[in-house]
């Protein structure tokens, strides 16, 4: 029973963080077939924005997360104007954008490393938004309040995004673009603006996900790398562009990772989900939560 | 040229192709004999291209039997079917964009007849180059052989596809809308080329919406509608067939074509 609760608690936590990061990735792929390899560094930056706000500026802690979300969104827009905006007409856009954002992400990450080395000499920093180890018990398993906050925050943010996509006219424009870019353009949707917006939303969510991640470990310039790969695994499992599927897949990945970590050993967690995604790609490339007709091209 | 005694070159029996619930090809039968020229017409979405996809193995049949020279090919892959002797063009202007016309044709000439072994041969044989020259000549492309496909006008792209298919020296050539999007002048050019092929004795299945082209070239016409065959016979009968006129041609066109045929006769 203990194991079981532990797996659920930890799996839900991982799952929530991955879901926040992955929903954005899926949204961006759906809108204009861009896989953003600088997503990971945006998660990292999200954690730093909160740190900056709370530690350096000393402003109220409660607003650190919204601040980080907005800044993350801005970074997303900047990423768009530094890369995709100029490349979207390229013949091999899907491939070239990966390499371009890979380079961009690498540049930001290394720049950040250098910058931080000069600014804060005493790394590592702990996330100011972390509630520490205060916890309550579920079936004798201690569950920290931090996790509770993460679950709630992820749930609320994703629900807001869902309502936004379904109920607002801007959201409908985004969904129209995702379904058929050319038709949307013909119907007067300003697709370019949709692209920026989508990338900004995705990056804002990624930034919040970064805060959550750093609340368990310290804030570090390289912290976004692994979670980004996991978010990619999630959207591949779901079938690229399948947003609802990405939510399920995120929980699945979280639970699988938690089970392996609890039952086997910490170090096999990543290996297990890598095996999962490799098998999924071989047997069902359209995604295990995807419809069979999703194009593989 | 068709006669009942010999085995057909291509025999299709009860061929179905479903896309989900849609029967794009519905219980289709067709016999093609060596030397035949068969024209397939029918409204947009009738399933003509899908039928070619099925025969050529690009998109295998859901059920049914397809025999080439008595050999079942319904479940074979496209490259194997090509090796067995069926070669096709595409309705969309397909091509190997970065290559020259000659290289495009060379692909058909050097792989279309078979490609044995796990480590295939590295160099081209003399016959391969000869096949290229012949195909280019048949399609009137010799003088443009070094041009790169991506820069070609529509007519040349159509011819290029035919040359590539011919370079495999097929027993059966499938041509999908060779004159779609061409002006009347160019249509005549293509017609002349196809007539040349017919004179060479190539067996052809031809899809075309331009009825003038279809009727003049084919000796047997098949009209498809909703995946089914609604007419098979000669072109005269076609123009007076009530159903064909109703679903496809319309009264005006049928009259006009009847006049045209009468003038030619």
């Amino acid at each position: 029973m203990d194991f079981f609760v532990q797996i659920i608690v930890s799996g839900l936590t991982f799952g929530s963080m991955y879901a926040l990061a992955a929903v954005g990735l899926a949204l961006v792929w759906g809108a204009f077939n861009m896989l953003n390899m600088s997503h990971g560094i945006i998660m990292t930056l999200g954690a730093y924005f909160a740190l900056l706000w709370a530690e350096l500026l000393g402003w109220p802690l409660i607003l650190a997360a919204p601040f980080s979300l907005v800044c993350g969104g801005l970074v997303g827009a900047i990423v768009y104007f530094l890369s995709a905006h100029w490349m979207i007409k390229q013949k091999n856009f899907e491939v070239t954008i990966i390499i371009a954002t890979f380079g961009l992400g690498m540049a930001i990450e290394s720049g950040l490393l250098k910058f931080l080395r000069e600014m804060f000499r005493t790394a590592p920093y702990s996330q100011p938004l972390s509630l520490g180890a205060k916890s309550f018990l579920i079936f004798d398993v201690p569950v920290s309040y931090q996790r509770l906050v993460i679950w709630t925050a992820a749930f609320v943010l994703i629900t807001i995004v869902g309502i936004f996509l379904r109920r607002t006219s801007v959201g409908r424009a985004i969904r129209a673009t995702a379904q058929d870019r050319n038709a949307a353009r013909l119907m007067g949707v300003p697709v370019r603006r949709v692209y920026v917006l989508v990338l900004a939303i995705a990056s804002g969510l990624a930034a919040v996900s970064g805060i959550m991640l750093s609340s368990f470990k310290d804030v570090h310039p390289l912290m976004g790398g692994d979670p980004m790969l996991k978010a990619f695994i999630v959207i591949v499992l779901a079938g690229l562009g399948n947003i609802t599927g990405a939510l399920y897949a995120a929980l699945l990945v979280g639970l699988v990772e938690a089970s392996v970590k609890v039952l086997l050993a910490d170090k096999y967690g990543f290996t297990a989900i890598l095996i999962l995604v490799i098998l999924a790609l071989i047997w069902k490339p359209s995604g295990i939560f995807g419809r069979a007709t999703v194009a593989r091209q | 040229m068709s006669n009942g005694d010999t085995q057909p070159l291509l025999a299709c029996r009860n061929v179905f192709k479903y896309f989900g619930g849609l029967a794009a090809v519905n219980d289709f039968d067709l016999d093609v004999y060596s030397g035949d020229v068969i024209g397939i017409g029918g409204p947009n979405g009738a399933g003509k291209t899908t039928f070619l996809d099925v025969i050529s193995g690009i998109n295998p049949a859901t059920s049914g039997e397809i025999l080439l020279d008595g050999i079942p090919i319904a479940n074979k892959k496209a490259d194997v079917i090509c090796h067995l002797g069926i070669s096709r063009t595409f309705q969309l202007n397909a091509g190997f964009e970065s290559m020259s016309i000659r290289e495009n044709t060379l692909v058909g000439a050097s792989f279309g007849r078979g490609d044995k072994g796990w480590f295939p041969r590295m160099i081209y044989s003399k016959e391969m180059h000869e096949r290229v020259e012949r195909a280019l000549e048949l399609c009137h492309l010799q003088d443009r052989a070094e041009l790169i496909v991506r820069d070609l006008p529509v007519l040349d792209r159509k011819l290029l596809l035919m040359a590539g298919a011919l370079a495999t020296e097929p027993k059966l050539l499938l041509i999908d809308e060779p004159v779609g999007g061409l002006n009347p002048h160019e249509v005549d050019d293509v017609m002349e080329i196809v007539q040349g092929l017919i004179a060479e004795g190539v067996t052809i299945i031809l899809i075309e919406h331009v009825m003038r082209f279809l009727l003049q070239l084919s000796e047997r016409v098949v009209i498809m509608h909703h995946g089914e065959k609604i007419y098979e016979g000669d072109s005269k009968g076609l123009l007076s067939d009530r159903k064909v006129v109703e679903v496809y041609l319309g009264e005006g066109t049928a009259d006009r074509l009847q006049h045209m045929m009468a003038e030619r006769a």
Binding site: L35, L82, S83, W86, Q90, N92, E94, T96, I99, A100, F102, G103, L104, M106, A107, S110, K114, F232, V236, L240, K267, Y268, F270, T271, L274, V277, I278, L281, I282, R296, Q297 | S56, G57, I58, K77, A78, D79, C82, R88, F96, E97, S98, M99, S100, E103, L106, V107, S110, F111, G112, G114, W118, F119, P120, M122, Y124, E146, L147, I148, T168
Partner: protein
Amino acid sequence: MKRRDYIIFAVLLGLAIAYPWINPPRYLLASVLLMFCYATVVSQWNLVFGLAGIFSLGQVAIFASGSYITAILGRYLEWSLWYTFPVAGVGGVFFSLLIGLACLRLRGIYVALLTLAVSQMMFILIQTDAMCSALNKKVNPATCVSFTGGAQGLGDFGSFGWRDVFGGRNWIIGDYYTMLVLLVIALIFTFIVTNSRIGLAFMALRDNEELARSRGISQFKYQLLVFAMSAFLTAVAGSFYAAHFGSVGTDLMGFALLLFLISMLVVGGIGRPWGPLLGAFLLMAADEVFKEASDWRNVGLGIVVLIFMVFLPEGLAGALDKLWNRGIQLVTGRLQSGGTRADGE
């Protein structure tokens, strides 16, 4: 391939042969020989990515597998490294065939994702390998080293052995020429494949798979072929790399090397015959420059990659080719049709 290209090749080869004789500083010699190694890998990658149009990121994993095979055979079985090279090459071919099989039904971006997952997996498996291996006990009983060396990497497995031939200081010249021979073989191999009938099949599948299949080309066969053919020299380059440095580590599978090598491909020009060489040269040169400001190295490289992808997706070789053709057009006043094609004619 035009006469121009043969001349370029001859001149470059002459320069490369002569270079050690002008007594360059040792670190430069080492950089140039490393460039040869990377150029070899990138030229083979160009076969998969440029010629066959398969966006595989597995090349770096194959390179690493070559290194590890050599290191393991040299360390535990105490083979002379010269025997390990062909074994590493064949091992790399098998590994690559497996990757190719797994990718068979995938297209475009999905191939990149799968190959990335495979190399990441290899990275993690080795990184987390911490069990003291019994094999190592036999060789070196005092230490606890895992079979693959884990996060610390493996050493102590020998070298090319040029120290015995050329003496203590000049062994690097031996390494230099060994690497040069490998690169020349790789370039000739790529040239032959590109211009062969097999190369035509690769290009046909790249340009239009459906058409290629209905012209009699088996996608199955040629996809496996290109994975196999491009792997041998890649893996051998990996084992040469190991032999030169005398140690291997997980950084061989890390993102930094992947980005560095893919930048070479991109900056040089994907699918261009001179792309890999040009790219390897430029990035090693840039690396040399950025080395002064070591912290800025990756920032610089990242920005270079970004700029090239945005403004020159055809790479420098592509841009130069266009310039050259425009020049010829100006001179001869005649339209050159072959200007923009993506292979080496």
